[in-house]
Amino acid sequence: MFHYTYDGSFEGLLTVVFEAYERKAWPTTIEPEHLAQPSMFGETVQVTTDEEKANRVWQGLKKRLSASALESLYYTYLWEQSGFERLIFDYARLVFDSPESVEGNYTAPFILQVQQIHKQVHREKHRMEAFVRFQKTADGLYYASIAPDFNVLPLIVRHFEKRYADQRWAIYDSSRRYGAYYDLQHTAFVQLENPALSPKQQGRLQTDQFDENETRYQMLWQVYFDHVNIPERKNPKLHLRHIPKRYWKYLSEKQPRLL
C-alpha cells in the first residue's frame, strides 16, 4: 500500500504519476500534503513537484490524447471535488498502458466520469463568463467578485482579456481568496486579502469607492431588465433553470431596485 502526497499543484500531481511509474508502486491514496493523515499501514511517498518530470508526463499524454481530452484532465484538477487525483491518475494510467487510443471509450466508468466533469466545469466557466458584473471604481478599474463552484478563474481570464483589452479589470474569487488583475498589458494572479474584513465582505466593493456613474448604470440595467420581460409569458420554472438562485448574488438585475 502506497500513500502519495503532493503540494496540491497540477504539476505536483503529474509528478506523482511519474514517480508511481518510476517505482512501479501504484498509489492507494493521493492527497495534498496539508490534508494527508498519517497512515498506520503501508508506505507514505512524499512527492516533491518537479517541473521536468511533470512535463514528461504531460508530453506523453499529449502524444496519445486530443487537445480536448487533455483539457478534460486539467478541468478535472480544477473541479477540486474529493477523489479528483485518483481519477486523473487512473485515466493517465489507462492511457499509458493501452496500446490503442482510449478516448471516447465511455464504457470505462472513469473515462465517462472525466468527460462529465469536463462538462460540469465547462458549464461553470461559461456561467462565470456570463454572470460576472463589473463595477467601475473611482480610479477607473472594472471590478467583479465571484465565488464559483469550481476553480474556474484560470479558465475565464483569456475570455476577458480578449473582450476588455482597453480597460483595466480585476476579478476576485472570494471563496478561494485570489484574483486576476489585468493592467492593459498582462494579467497577473494576485492575493488581495484584507485581514480586517470578514469572509463575506472579502473582495466586495463599497459604494463610496464607485465611479460617479456606476450607480446610474446599475439602475439603468435594472430598468432595462424589468422592461424586456413579457409578463404574459411568465415562466418562473424556466427562469430558475437558467439562473439558479445561487448565482443571483452576482447579478445587479437581481438586487433590490435602486429606483
Binding site: F131, A165, Q167
Partner: protein, 421 residues
C-alpha cells in the same frame, strides 16, 4: 440622475421586446485593434427574463414613433401609447457602458418608421458607424432593416453590423394585405434578396483577398408571428423552408403572438400560443440539424403539429416501419431520428460502440434518456419492452402511462386555461 434616459429606456425597451430574436452567435469579429469587445463564436446569455428568455443584447427601438399602422404591432400609429426617441449618442453611451460592465454582448437596434424609411435607416446606420469607428467597438451589432430603405443604406449597414434582419412577421401575403396594408411581400423580400447577394459577394471577395470588407458575418434572420392570423403550421414551416433554402437565412424566429392589440382586424386570442410556438421551433430544429424535410414533418393530411407530443416523436409514430433500430449498427443519421435521442447522445453512442458492443446499461450511464427511446431501439437485438404496441397505444403510454409527467410547458398552459375558464 438623468430621468429622461430612464423614461426613454422604459418605453423603447418595452416596444422592442416582442422581437424575440436575441441571438448573438455566429459573429466573427475579433478584437484586433486593442479596442473594446469581441464577437467571435458563441453568444452568451448574460441574464434571463422572468419568462425564461435569454438576455444577450441591449434590444431597443431607436424610436417608437411610426407612420405605419400594422395591426399586430404595439408601435402602430393608431395605438394610444407614450412615444419617445433616443438620440444617436444616447444609444452609443448605453451600449458601451452596458458592455463594459459585462451586461451584454452588444446591441440589437430596430425602429419605428419616422418620416420615411431612408431617414430612419440612416440613423440606425449612424449608431452602428459611430460604435465601430469612434468607439472601436467589436461587440455584436444586429440591425433591423427598415422596409423600403435604399440598397446603399442596407449595404452600409452590413459593413458595420454582424447580423441584419428583415422581419416578414405575417406568414402569408393575404394576412399582410389585411393587417399591414402599407407593406407587401415583394417589398419585404427585396432587401432580403439584396442582403443575400451581398453576403455571397463578400464571401467571394474574401476568397480572393483576405482583407476584403466583411458583410454581416453572422448572416441574416427574420421573424414570423404565430397565431395572429390563420395560417397552418404547414404553411409557416414551408415558408421557413423556402427562406432557409432560397435566401440562405441563418435563422427564422417565431413569435407566439402576445395580444397587445384589440384591433378588430386580428383573430381573437387571449393567451400567447406558447406551446404551439415551442412545437414550431422543434420542427424548425428538425429541419436544420436533424436532416428532416419539411414534407416529413407535416403534409396535407396533417397540416398542424400535434401539441401534445414533439414533432420527432410524431414522425416516429407515423413511420414505425423504420423501427426498432439496432443501436450497435444503425447509421448516425437514423439514431438522430430516435425520439428522445439528441445530437450529443447520438455522437456518444457512435463513439462508444467502437470499443464495445453496447448494452442498455451503457446507454444509461452515458446519460441517454430512455423514457421514449426504449420503444424504438434494441441493444444487441434485445429490447426493453416485452410486448408490441401499436402507434396509438405507444402515444398514450408515452403521454400518460408509466407515471410519466406532462411537459412543464403543457402544464403551464393548462393552468392558464383553468384560470381563464
Amino acid at each position: 440622475m438623468n430621468d429622461k434616459i430612464i423614461g426613454k429606456l422604459k418605453i423603447l425597451a418595452d416596444a422592442a421586446k416582442y422581437d424575440v430574436s436575441c441571438s448573438s452567435s455566429g459573429g466573427k469579429r475579433k478584437n484586433e485593434n486593442k479596442g473594446l469587445g469581441n464577437a467571435e463564436g458563441m453568444g452568451i446569455c448574460h441574464s434571463y427574463t422572468e419568462d425564461g428568455r435569454c438576455v444577450s443584447l441591449l434590444k431597443i427601438l431607436l424610436t417608437n414613433f411610426c407612420i405605419y399602422d400594422c395591426a399586430y404591432c404595439v408601435t402602430r400609429k393608431s395605438n394610444d401609447v407614450q412615444r419617445a426617441a433616443f438620440t444617436v449618442q444616447e444609444v452609443v453611451d448605453l451600449t458601451i457602458n452596458f458592455y463594459r460592465r459585462n451586461y451584454i454582448e452588444g446591441l440589437f437596434l430596430s425602429s419605428g418608421i419616422f418620416k420615411d424609411a431612408d431617414y430612419t435607416m440612416e440613423r440606425l446606420v449612424r449608431v452602428a458607424r459611430k460604435l465601430r469607428q469612434e468607439e472601436k467597438f467589436n461587440g455584436y451589432i444586429h440591425l433591423k432593416t427598415i422596409p423600403g430603405a435604399s440598397e446603399e443604406l442596407i449595404k452600409e449597414a452590413g459593413l458595420y453590423a454582424d447580423r441584419l434582419s428583415v422581419n416578414i412577421e405575417l406568414p402569408s401575403e393575404q394576412s399582410l394585405q389585411s393587417l399591414a396594408p402599407e407593406k407587401n411581400y415583394a417589398e419585404i423580400l427585396m432587401p432580403m434578396d439584396s442582403i443575400k447577394n451581398q453576403l455571397v459577394q463578400a464571401k467571394e471577395e474574401v476568397k480572393l483577398f483576405k482583407a476584403a470588407p466583411k458583410f454581416a458575418p453572422a448572416g441574416q434572420s427574420t421573424q414570423l408571428i404565430v397565431g395572429a392570423t390563420s395560417e397552418s403550421d404547414r404553411q409557416i414551416l414551408q415558408l421557413s423552408d423556402q427562406l432557409y433554402k432560397g435566401y440562405s437565412l441563418k435563422r427564422v424566429y417565431y413569435s407566439g403572438y402576445v395580444p397587445v392589440s384589440t384591433d378588430s382586424r386580428l383573430s381573437i386570442i387571449t393567451e400567447p400560443p406558447i406551446i404551439r410556438e415551442n412545437r414550431i421551433y422543434q420542427a424548425d430544429w428538425l429541419m436544420r440539424f436533424y436532416g428532416f424535410d419539411v414534407k416529413e414533418i407535416l403534409d396535407e393530411a396533417n397540416p398542424n403539429l400535434d401539441l401534445d407530443i414533439d414533432p420527432k416523436l410524431g414522425w416516429a409514430l407515423r413511420n414505425r416501419h423504420f423501427f426498432p433500430l439496432e443501436i450497435n449498427t444503425a447509421d448516425y443519421e437514423m439514431i438522430l431520428r430516435v425520439p428522445g435521442i439528441g445530437v450529443k447522445s447520438a455522437k456518444k453512442i457512435v463513439s462508444a460502440r467502437r470499443f464495445a458492443p453496447l448494452h442498455f446499461d451503457h446507454l444509461r450511464q452515458m446519460g441517454v434518456v430512455l423514457k421514449r427511446a426504449k420503444y424504438f431501439i434494441t441493444c444487441q437485438t434485445k429490447s426493453l419492452q416485452r410486448q408490441d404496441f401499436d402507434s396509438e397505444q405507444l402515444r398514450r403510454r408515452i403521454l400518460f402511462g408509466e407515471g410519466s409527467v406532462r411537459s412543464a410547458l403543457l402544464t403551464q398552459q393548462l393552468d392558464l386555461f383553468r384560470k381563464v375558464g
